[in-house]
């Protein structure tokens, strides 16, 4: 299964990533750009799961990430400047 695969950092350097979320996760995210968005500096080459773990954002409560208009999983490797929307599973359709 993709999201459970062992993921490792690809290379070093830092990048800026914008994390966005509403709902319960928003509190944990501590937005600082606007009411939903937080700007973070992270090591380059980290997967989204690793980034979230670093910031103690509970990955089990994230259904998926929405990046540049596409659904991505937690094994996604964000790039510098990307806005990543974290979607919690809330309503069940």
């Amino acid at each position: 299964m993709i999201c459970n695969s062992v993921l490792t950092a690809k290379n070093k350097g830092t990048m800026t990533v914008y994390l966005k979320s509403g709902g319960k996760l928003r509190e944990k995210l501590k937005p600082d750009v606007d009411q939903y968005t937080r700007k973070i500096e992270v090591e380059e080459g980290l997967s989204l799961r690793e980034i979230l773990n670093q910031f103690e954002i509970p990955v089990e409560l994230i259904a998926f990430a929405f990046v540049d208009g596409r659904l991505e999983r937690l094994d996604y490797f964000p790039e510098d400047g990307q806005v990543i929307t974290l979607q919690p599973p809330v309503s069940g359709g």
Partner: protein, 637 residues
């Protein structure tokens, strides 16, 4: 009276008599609409021994107090009847535009009684209300009928129809509206068909009074501005509910091959991404909605292209995963077939998946299928069998009774994998490794429907294997979630866009001029829950617990593969969850509501009814809990 059109229609189909009556304010205030009004009417007016498909059953159409307002999104309408699938109270909600249109025509409620001697459709154009012949429509598909009626009457009529499945008494027949939105669950379409009502066509040009329009406008404008940039808006607009396929699969809750597994290795062939890239034509919205989560889609089929709204997550789960499809076009086509034939895609998918497993196990053979096969993932086989079901031909006649009814006929232990509760097929979440979700299905008043309580996140928060401490949260969800169906608004604004219950209470008070509180709304919801429970016991006997035990697959068969491989619950654990649940509800060990609880909810008549049939719960040694239901305190906060 504010918030309501103020009138109701009683229609006797046998005599053709249509009577307009004033909607009583106290009734409206007590039951609010949709699910609440349906519950009260069915409880009071349908005799205990009435055959769901007979003249004494009623079909109720009820929008709610917020339907037709611009509170986000006042689009919903309830359809209710005694269900032929569960033999008890059923309400099924549909979005689109028909609920608002009914209120704009001047009516809050329609109650159909008896059976028409010949096929009819109900025509409403404001004050003009008529039963018209539907002989020329009988036999046609739901989508085809909607199209034809719009051509005959005008594009601005809102139409709800049944298809052949409803005409032929398939117990999971639905009522279809707006080319693919359905009052899908519990077979309300079969009841409509039994009454020989082919369709309802409504055009309304009036309005209804709002108590404080200025404040409501200001509040709604602020909510629109706040929610437009909400992070969940864009993904929901792009994918609709289909976006949860991958997540559900990751969580090992995606029903696969009739719930034999909870992980589908082919999920990427049928997920939201595939839907949007290959099938989506345009986005659709219900009345008053600024989220437009509906996807109007085109499927390529061997017959040429077909168009339908959908498929939504539940359809993808139960047709896609549970029947093991490997093409989003096939899932979309199957969605179209179910809709046009007039069948719920959730139950329809589940029944076909059940039949496929029966075929795999040799319980159904080629001899039963006119030499055909019933292979996992085969769209031609799906099309063959779903038509047989809709027209009640051959083995289709058995499957038209739903998984429970069919298993009772087919025998050979097939009841163990008839994935239903109380006769209603389970929504699209495999829950052997999500005990609170299973508890939600087990205890749902209308059968295993996720609309009543969706609690996988509770399992994620409190531990997937943990069974303790979840029941009070399920009770809370069973009160808060259905309140949206009762007010008749789309709950996705709450779930996805953080429009909070207290904001809805404020809206409700602006609409009506009442001084309602959130606690009062929750209590109304609890009251409805206990009324429908009592109704179930009255019609199906007791004790309540026997109706809450799930199919044996949940406690006898470990999940075959995937991340939840080997997971299974024991009957002991299932009963322990029920113990905790009954206690949290103020019911006795048998799962019967107690006198103390019913009196606390102001339901003396129900106490007397349950006493009469010996199903009133025994008094609890420490009395009932003061607060029933408990909000989850999420880890993420």
């Amino acid at each position: 009276m504010y918030g309501f059109a103020g009138q109701m229609l009683r229609i006797n189909l046998k005599t053709g008599n249509i009577s307009k009556q004033i909607l009583s304010e106290s009734f409206a205030k007590e039951w609010l609409g949709a699910r609440g009004m349906v519950a009260k009417i069915l409880y009071d007016e349908v005799p205990r021994d009435a055959d769901p498909m007979g003249p004494k059953n009623k079909l109720v159409i009820a929008p709610g107090v917020l339907t037709g307002t611009f509170v986000g999104a006042g689009s919903k309408c309830g359809f209710g009847a005694i269900s032929p699938a569960t033999n008890s109270h059923a309400d099924s909600s549909v979005g689109g535009h028909i609920g608002p249109e009914l209120k704009f025509a001047g009516y809050d409620l329609i109650i159909f009684d008896d059976i028409s001697p010949e096929p009819v459709f109900l025509f409403i154009e404001d004050d003009k209300v008529e039963l018209r012949s539907a002989k020329h429509l009988w036999g046609k598909g739901s989508i085809d009928t909607e199209k034809q009626l719009k051509e005959e009457l005008g594009e601005d009529f809102e139409i709800a129809t049944i298809g052949p499945a409803g005409e032929n008494g398939v117990v999971f027949a639905c009522i279809t509206h707006d080319f693919g939105r359905n009052a899908g669950r519990c077979g309300v379409g079969a009841v409509m068909g039994s009454k020989k009502i082919k369709a309802i066509a409504i055009k309304g040009t009036k309005s209804f009074p709002i108590y404080d329009l200025k404040s409501l406008t200001k509040q709604t404008e602020a909510i629109i501005q706040r929610t437009k940039p909400h992070p969940n808006m864009a993904p929901w607009q792009k994918y609709g509910t289909a976006l949860f396929v991958g997540w559900s699969n990751d969580q090992a809750s995606f029903p696969t091959r009739n719930f034999q597994s909870s992980y589908y290795d082919q999920w990427q062939t049928i997920d939201g991404e595939r839907l949007v890239e290959e099938c989506r034509v345009i986005d659709k919205a219900c009345f008053g909605c600024w989220m437009n989560c509906g996807k109007y889609s085109r499927a390529k089929t061997r017959h040429g292209d077909v168009y339908i709204e959908g498929p939504e997550y539940e359809t993808i789960a139960l047709i896609g995963g549970s029947c093991a499809m490997t093409s989003i076009h096939d899932v979309t086509f199957a969605n179209y077939l179910c809709d046009n034939l007039g069948m719920d895609t959730e139950s329809g998918g589940s029944v076909v998946a059940f039949a496929m497993e029966c075929y795999e196990k040799g319980i159904i053979t080629k001899d039963d299928l006119d030499g055909h096969e019933l292979r996992w993932g085969n769209i031609d086989d799906f099309e063959f069998i779903i038509n047989k079901i809709a027209y009640q031909q051959g083995i289709g006649k058995v499957l038209a009774k739903g998984t429970k009814g069919a298993a009772e006929i087919l025998g050979k232990d097939s009841i163990k994998f008839a994935m239903q509760q109380k006769g209603l097929e389970s929504s699209g979440y495999e829950s052997r490794w999500a005990p609170s979700m299973l508890l939600s299905f087990m205890t749902s008043d209308i059968g295993a429907h996720h609309n009543r309580s969706w609690s996988i996140t509770v399992d994620l928060e409190l531990g997937r294997d943990e069974i303790k401490g979840k029941a009070p949260v399920v009770v809370y969800l069973q009160h808060i979630r259905p309140i949206y169906d009762t007010l008749s608004i789309c709950r996705l604004f709450w779930g996805e866009l953080d429009v909070m219950p207290e904001e809805y209470v404020e809206s409700l008070n602006y609409v009506t001029g009442w001084h309602t509180t959130e606690d009062e709304l929750l209590k109304t919801s609890e009251k409805i829950w206990n009324l429908t429970r009592a109704h179930f016991l009255k019609r199906n006997g007791g004790p309540g617990r026997i109706h809450d035990i799930p199919p044996a697959r949940y406690y006898e068969e470990p999940i075959l593969d995937g991340p939840a491989k080997g997971k299974v619950l024991s009957l002991e654990k299932i009963n322990a969850m029920l113990d905790e649940y009954y206690e949290a509800r103020g019911w006795d060990k048998n799962g019967n509501p107690t006198e103390e609880l019913l009196l606390d909810l102001g339901m003396k008549a129900v106490v007397d009814d349950l006493k009469e049939i010996n199903l009133l719960g025994k008094p609890l040694p420490d009395g009932i809990p003061k607060v029933r239901g408990q909000k989850l305190k999420p880890k993420a906060m």
